[in-house]
């Protein structure tokens, strides 16, 4: 089967912002990162439970992308460590997938949608027949079944971002990192993709770290919301989101708790912008 960790999705304990260390999927321990003398990340610690969805918000330039790149193993912390399932993350790792904001650059323009997904399978030496089947399944899952033979240049932004997600899923990651993945998409596409991602994360049991500018998106998707503060980037507040799942674009967004959270986050962010 494609999905290896089909376990029921473990929710972290209610109201417990930091799960016990033994069961953390990702452990960020006092991480800092400097470019030369300039400190970008100034001491972030965070435990993320398996299956948890963390949303990261914060003003532009506060280090959200940098934090995500460290979780992906693409950037090395200057001090502190990032652990995946108890062992230090030394570099990029197949169990951690990342969806970049600039989908145009992350896709192979000379490969069709199917070819792009297939790349993830070729990387782990998956045999040809199986590759075709899994590719097809992934594209179906993300709603690109009819577009398998299209090149990225023939696809809309939403379709390209779907394709990038499909490739990440083909990687069978334990952790899915997303860097403002829907920032460039229109509102309707965005909501559709939010629901698709929530569905996929729920069925695969993947752990997700989702960076966004959009407060409502953060509340809609997350179990917890990390508010980063700038100069250097550090955790300002952690807000628990106690909204029932599965979430629903209309009902969830009308929930008084949703509106209260939106207000709370808005005030927090406003303070950061002075």
């Amino acid at each position: 089967m494609v999905v290896t960790q089909l376990s029921t999705r473990p929710r972290h304990g209610e109201g417990n912002s930091t799960p016990a260390s033994g069961e953390a999927r990702i452990r960020i321990f006092d991480v800092t990162l400097s470019y030369g003398s300039l400190q970008i990340i100034g001491g972030i610690s965070l435990d993320i439970a398996p299956g948890e969805t963390i949303c990261v918000i914060g003003p532009s330039g506060c280090g959200k992308t940098t934090l995500l790149r460290m979780l992906a193993g693409l950037a090395r912390p200057t001090s502190g460590s990032v652990e995946l399932d108890g062992s230090v993350l030394g570099g990029p790792n197949r169990s951690v997938a990342i969806v970049f904001q600039d989908y145009g650059k992350a896709l192979l323009p000379w490969r069709t949608a199917a070819g792009n997904v297939s790349l993830a399978l070729e990387a782990r030496g998956c045999p040809g027949a199986e590759r075709l089947a899994i590719t097809r399944e992934m594209l179906e899952k993300i709603g690109l079944g009819r577009h398998a033979d299209k090149y990225p240049a023939e696809m809309s932004g939403g379709m390209q971002q779907r394709l990038q997600i499909a490739r990440c899923l083909a990687q069978e990651p334990k952790v899915l990192l997303m860097d403002e993945p829907f920032g460039a998409l229109d509102a309707m596409t965005r909501q559709a993709l939010q629901d698709e991602v929530l569905g996929l994360v729920a069925t695969t049991g993947a752990t997700m770290v989702f960076v966004t500018h959009d407060l409502e998106e953060a509340i809609y998707l997350g179990d917890r919301i990390i508010c980063l503060q700038p100069n250097p980037g550090r955790v300002g507040r952690i807000v628990d989101v106690r909204l029932a799942r599965p979430r629903n674009q209309l009902l969830t967004r009308e929930n008084p708790e949703f509106l209260r959270l939106r207000r709370e986050l808005y005030d927090l962010i406003k303070d950061d912008h002075q």
């Binding site: 990029p92 997938a97 992350a106 323009p109 990387a123």
Partner: protein, 255 residues
């Protein structure tokens, strides 16, 4: 689409007709002695005679074969060396400036060296062609590798692609537009060097027959040879741009 290319074809033929007309006017007015400068009719007659009589046809085939062999050799060596240099950023920084410096010299500077080692032989001509024509492919591959989208390197690391997979599946395809364009340039250089090589080493082929025609004042034969060379160049470059369009379909859709 179809309409457009038909119009282009029409324009191209029109320009050719004008050129031939001007050629005819100049020769009819006897601006240049007809001994040195035959008109289009005499050239055409020489062409028909040469191609049907057999001598010129076999010489053409010799030259085309020489050109293709040299070009293939140049392409493989050029791309292969380009990959070796292109995969390493350090190798690129180290060698690329030297290559840029050597590039304008090689073909002509190579000939005496090639003669010294290989004598006046077919192999000598082949080496000269390969050495002179590999530069566009070599530099295109190096530049193509350097210009690869950095994000794709990150994607390859995240997916866990091997080094060989990065070369085959990412770097080479992303350098392909540049490499294909360089193949066309390389073919032109191969044709020129094939002819020059034949003249110098007196090997069978159009180069030699053109030289012989000019030495014995058979100017229609000389011009017929030149027309054939032009046609070889045109057909070669057309075939390659056709292949280019097919291989780069993914690019055409984005325009």
């Amino acid at each position: 689409m179809k309409h457009f290319s038909l119009r282009k074809l029409f324009l191209g033929c029109g320009a050719l007709a004008l050129f031939i007309l001007a050629w005819k006017l100049v020769t009819d007015a006897k601006l240049v002695s007809p001994i040195f400068f035959p008109g289009p009719e005499r050239t055409y007659a020489a062409l028909v005679k040469g191609l049907s009589g057999g001598a010129m046809l076999s010489q053409t085939l010799e030259t085309v074969q020489r050109m293709l062999l040299g070009w293939l050799l140049a392409s493989f060596v050029g791309v292969f060396l380009g990959v070796l240099i292109g995969v390493s950023r350090r190798a690129r920084a180290f060698i690329a400036p030297t290559l840029e410096l050597l590039r304008p010299l090689p073909a002509s500077a190579m000939i005496p060296i090639a003669i010294a080692f290989l004598g006046f032989s077919d192999n000598m001509v082949l080496v000269v062609i390969a050495f002179g024509a590999l530069w566009p492919m070599l530099l295109a591959t190096i530049h193509g590798f350097a210009a690869m989208e950095p994000r794709l390197y990150e994607v390859s690391a995240l997916l866990g692609l091997s080094r060989a997979q990065v070369i085959w599946k990412l770097a080479l395809p992303s350098a392909m537009p540049m490499i294909l364009a360089s193949l066309r340039l390389g073919l032109t250089i191969s044709l020129i060097l094939a002819v020059v090589g034949e003249m110098l080493a007196s090997r069978q082929g159009l180069g030699q027959s053109i030289l012989a025609a000019s030495r014995s004042f058979r100017s229609p034969d000389l011009f017929a040879g030149i027309v054939i060379l032009g046609a070889i160049g045109l057909v070669g470059s057309r075939l390659l741009s056709f292949a280019e369009r097919r291989l780069l379909r993914w690019q055409a859709v984005s325009r």
